[in-house]
Amino acid sequence: MNAPVLRLYGLVIVLFAVLIGFTSRWTVFEAEQLRDNPRNARTILEEQEIRRGAIRSADGRLLARSVRGPGETYVRRYPTGELFAHAVGYAYIDLGRAGLERSRNDELTGRRTELVTAVESILGRSQEGYDVRTTLDAGAQQTAIAALAGRKGAVVALDVHTGAVRVLASTPAYDPNRLQEDFRRLTTDDANAPLLNRATQNGYPPGSTMKVVTAAAALDSGRYEPGSVVDGNNGKIVSGVPLNNFGGQSFGAIDLTTALTNSVNTVWAEVGLEVGRRRMQAYMERFGFYAKPPMDYPEDQMSASGVRKRGRLTPVTRREVDLGRVAIGQGDLFATPLQMAEVAATIANGGRRMKPYLMSRAIDADGRTVEEAEPEVAARVVSRGTAEELTAMMKQVVREGTGTAAALGGVEVAGKTGTAELNLSGLNQPWFIGFTSDVAVAVTLERVQGGTGGTVAAPIAKAVLEALGSRQ
């Protein structure tokens, strides 16, 4: 009976080795993720004793700062209240962190490598957080929130050359200073969902703004030119169901520029089908669909755009996807305002998509810049030539098409409207995406009765472009 006893001991050693293995996993290998988990009150408790850095807008407005709390701790104050609620987020012990407070936590707490920290603690220096300077423009943000005027919606504005996020607005918002009192009410208010960042987290049917993506794919693949002529009659059969133009209008045979200017559904559905499933999928991915945006913002506060079937992202290469309707921004296609802003910015930037970013600099207590954002190219989406052709077409939209409400005096605006019909009784999702030579913008409003992209969203875009333009 001795041999089995020894083997049993061998088994116990193996079992204990597993225990040590798992303990190592949590203490060493996966410790970083566990420490960063927003549920981990410990990290926040310890960081409470660190003076977190301040967060400022690009023009120097104070968006978040730490003040002395009870005992050795600090608490967060948000001087701008609701204005930057979603972009900046919050940091509380019991509620965890969100927004930039979470994605830039390392900078805000001044976390360095463990060795440096150890040396500093021996030297008796306390850890100090870095100030974070954002790319956000306080004035334009205020303009955007004011223009949304209490309706549910979102505005995103990007610097077309760098990808810097100038405006990230979502309404309704919440007051981060009062979050602890209001949290229960905010989380249960499903009708308004004030904690939801509508700019990054929620996808909406993009409607006709998607025609910019379809047009980019069509022109860039060389199958079409701005002057190519396509039948624009009403009621063409797409995927076995007749497709209507806005107002049931028939246009006859027209060129693509005219078709974009008048947002002719039947033309762009045919173009999308002609471009084909595989190519459409490839261009959508290059524009950033089907992936979370590479932005310095918490992953779970962003969602990927694309066709969703039964709640799951489904590539358009799948037969079940109605490609013709996806090409005009319907057919279960959902896109976030951030994604559509990237589409506009990419065309404005000569076909190169830049990585969007919110932090421009981290500055230490002595005023030295310790970290600086470098503009990065995320993808070459279309050729410069295609981008220029498409820009010309989109300028036509604002000059004499559906987007005239976005026209600015003195600066030429390129753009595209969208009005996704949510039901037959006139409940719409109006959109506008557009750009000047410097700034791209995307605007959408949630479930508006009767309004169209041109009448409701374009004026907001205009106001935001104007606010950013005056600061150039």
Partner: protein, 435 residues
Amino acid sequence: MSARNRELLALVPASLLLTAGFAAIFIQQSGVQSDVSLTYGAVFLGLCFAGHLAIRFTLPHADPYLFPLVAVLACFGLVVIYRLDEDLAREQAQWFVVGLVLFAATMVFLRDFRVLERYRYTVAAAGLLLLLLPRVPGIGQQVNGAYLGVELGPVSFQPAEFGKIAIVIFLAAYLRDTRQVLILGARRFLGVTIPPLKHFGPLLVVWGGAMLMLVFIRDLGSSLMFFGGFLALLYVATNRLSFAVIGMGMFAVGAWFFASTVGHVEDRIATWRDPFDPQLYDKPGGSYQIAQSLFAQADGGLFGTGFGQATLNLPTGQSILPAPHTDLIYAVITNELGLAGACGLLLVYLLFVERGFATAVRAQDSFSKLLATGLTAVFALQVFVIVGGVTKVIPLTGVTLPFVSYGGSSILANFILLALLLLVSDRARRPERTR
């Protein structure tokens, strides 16, 4: 050096460890070195010495390392519990005194432990009764959905701690008789050795018992511990790996069945799989506990924060870790002593298990061998079940970490277990002529 002198000498470092631990906590708490830590160290050494004397007079030939290893474990427990709550540590120390008395009494009154063989069915009945006690209306307590505690007036205890010893005694006695039949009657079928159907019965009964426990006590960890102990004994008694494999398969099937039908077990498994799921996390009795356990371990890192330095409470005084002195004490140890300290603790357990199995190997008769094997296996499994639960190897269940967790029942039962191991060991190591 004689065995007893080695034992005595080994108790000194354990006492020093305790002194150092308390000193560290005093410095952390009040910033001053206090000679109270020396007093505590001396009292602890005194208690160890008393235990040692009891062994010296009753079991002079017993294994010299088991008792000092237990002293080291006790020192881990006392220091950590003191760091969490001074009052609990005082109670724990009192339980240790009671435990030592019970330990000495067991050694004195069970000098010929083989009488236990004769009362096997009485012991088995007592064991089963103990296990089912928590389900008796009026006295049973439900904690986190599992029925593990009993409350009799002012006294509350965990009968499963004692039940495990009774069941091991019964199985050792039963298998001593039937092991031959189980081996000889076995047939091979499709390359697998199948035990004879007639004697397969008891195996099925025990399996059924384990499943009943799963349903009645609703505790996956305890039933895993009991059934694992049974399989270990069956394997050692028959030297047939196939029996153990079949048994494990049957347990897995049963556990799977109950996991998908009994809501409580199902929840436990869901929280184990995804502790960070927001819905499970916020549910009462949900994954909050295991998630916090992992956070505490991550906070510990390689070398830990040091005694008394981990963040265990919110500024409001509320504890971040639920049940830090019982279920999650391993997480607290890892937090403060790091991976290094946790490995050290596990190593101490491994050495204890090694001494236990060595005792089994040395023992002459089958009953002694099986008894030592069973006690050691159940002890090792208990450590695996709770540490495995805390480190998310298996679903977390509420068994104690022997000699470390706070709890009277656990200490008393494990002192009886230690006494039994020493009894077997003394008999096995006694020189031939005096036997």
